[in-house]
Amino acid sequence: MNSIQPFPSPLTTPTGTRASRGLGLVVFLGMVLLTMLGLFFTDEDVVQGSTVRLMYIHVPTAWVAYLAFIVTAVASAMYMWGKQHSLTFDRIAGASAEVGVIFMGLSLVTGSLWGRLTWGTYWQWDPRLTTTVFLFVTYVGYLAVRDLGGSHQQRAKRSGVVALLAVLEIPLVHFSVVLWRSLHQEASILQPNGNVTMDGLMLFTLLFGVAVFTLLFAWMVLHRQRVLTLADAIDDGGLETALQERRNEVN
């Protein structure tokens, strides 16, 4: 609680700075270019046809989703083991998880649409897909723990522990799902992008998409983290008013 700087007024403080606006502009231009590349400049795949264009958003959203949870875990660890127990790390962890849950949802939707077109079904019990669902639910739970109430430090400690436990849980879930699938002697399931022969431009577009989405993630977390800081500041500002009201009870 002590680490929050009092803001002039949280309600009127903007979350944008010159740097973050610049970043936002870069992300916007990058998205426009990615759309052009993905829809018009790249060729169709020999096997999948235009369906392959889904790859340029599916792979980046999935990448961002996993990146977000790594950021949440690292930020939580830095909060837990930092000498200051800085709430900034806690808010970065929270912001990153929120963004991560959205992108995980998006990657599940785009993945299942792609699956429908290539596998003929929306859903396969593929280990990667199954783990992703568990990750999604686990972090929905994480966000619920953040919402339990109590002081900011208490929120940070609780959710930090849950985030670190999730880091232990997810590899075990993945491992057990992989083992589970491998015991069923079914044909190994092709990843949607497994049978795509990529030419230079397609590969570039994919990597470019990953880069642009990573910047988008950074931009969103930056702003969300600032919003959370302001929300915490409003809570603390409300404290002054509440204390004043409490003092008035005396007289």
Binding site: V137, G141, A144, L148, L164, L165, S176
Partner: protein, 232 residues
């Protein structure tokens, strides 16, 4: 006027003994949760009204029933603490939270074990599966290790739910995805023990290793994390 230093293990023993004694006295598990699990097993049979299918999925049904029941057992184990706010008294006593965690977990392991004995017997009768002696040995090992994992996770997240008053509903959301590996491993190993789905006995034992790792990891993690999750 100072306290004698009390070891984590003594605290754990006191908590576990107390929990089991309360259960012995109140019989909530036997009179309420077991009948619930029993009816779930019967309902499964109604839903999957085909002998062939029932036999094949019996291991999964047993472990699903165990998981659902474990939610109730975990909630019950913390309800006895919050009924007269004993949790506060324990916190103030400055006892090792690792000890409280281990005590709670041990009591859960024992209760779950008793529970599984009944559910497995029920599945032998209701789903007509067969259990060889070798299968029984495998099954006991699997149950014991699986219980350690479920109990560790349950004590941890149950404690979190109990500390955040009025939010006990969070438990299933946190617990079920976390114990998914236990469900998978225990189900596959039980398939081997029952000899269904073409599984042989030997195929069951590798899963035992996974259960052991899971149990060890979260018993250790829970010992460290319980204090942070339950304090205000």
């Amino acid at each position: 006027m100072t306290q004698h230093p009390i070891s984590t293990m003594s605290v754990a023993r006191a908590i576990a003994t107390k929990d089991l004694r309360i259960e012995w006295r109140s019989k909530v598990l036997v009179n309420q949760v077991l009948p619930f699990a029993g009816i779930v097993m019967v309902l499964f049979a109604f839903a999957l009204d085909n002998d062939g299918i029932l036999q094949r999925v019996a291991p999964g049904l047993v472990w699903l029933a165990v998981l659902f029941s474990s939610l109730i057992i975990v909630q019950r184990t913390f309800a006895i603490e919050s009924a007269d706010n004993a949790l506060d008294a324990i916190k103030v006593a400055g006892v090792s939270s690792a000890g409280v965690f281990l005590g709670k977990a041990v009591a859960l392991v024992v209760q779950l074990l008793l529970f599984e004995c009944v559910l497995v017997l029920l599945s032998l009768v209701l789903y007509q599966v067969h259990l060889s002696w070798g299968g029984a040995v495998l099954l006991v090992t699997v149950s014991f290790l699986a219980n350690i994992g479920i109990a560790a996770m349950g004590a941890l997240y149950g404690g979190l739910g109990a500390a955040a008053k009025g939010r006990e509903t969070l438990l299933p959301l946190l617990l079920l995805p976390a114990v998914a590996p236990v469900l998978i491993a225990a189900t596959r190993a039980t398939e081997s023990a029952f000899g269904v789905s073409g599984a042989t006995l030997g195929e069951g034992w590798p899963w035992v290793a996974l259960l052991a790792v899971f149990g060890a990891l979260f018993t250790f993690g829970g010992t460290l994390a319980f204090g942070v999750l339950t304090e205000e």
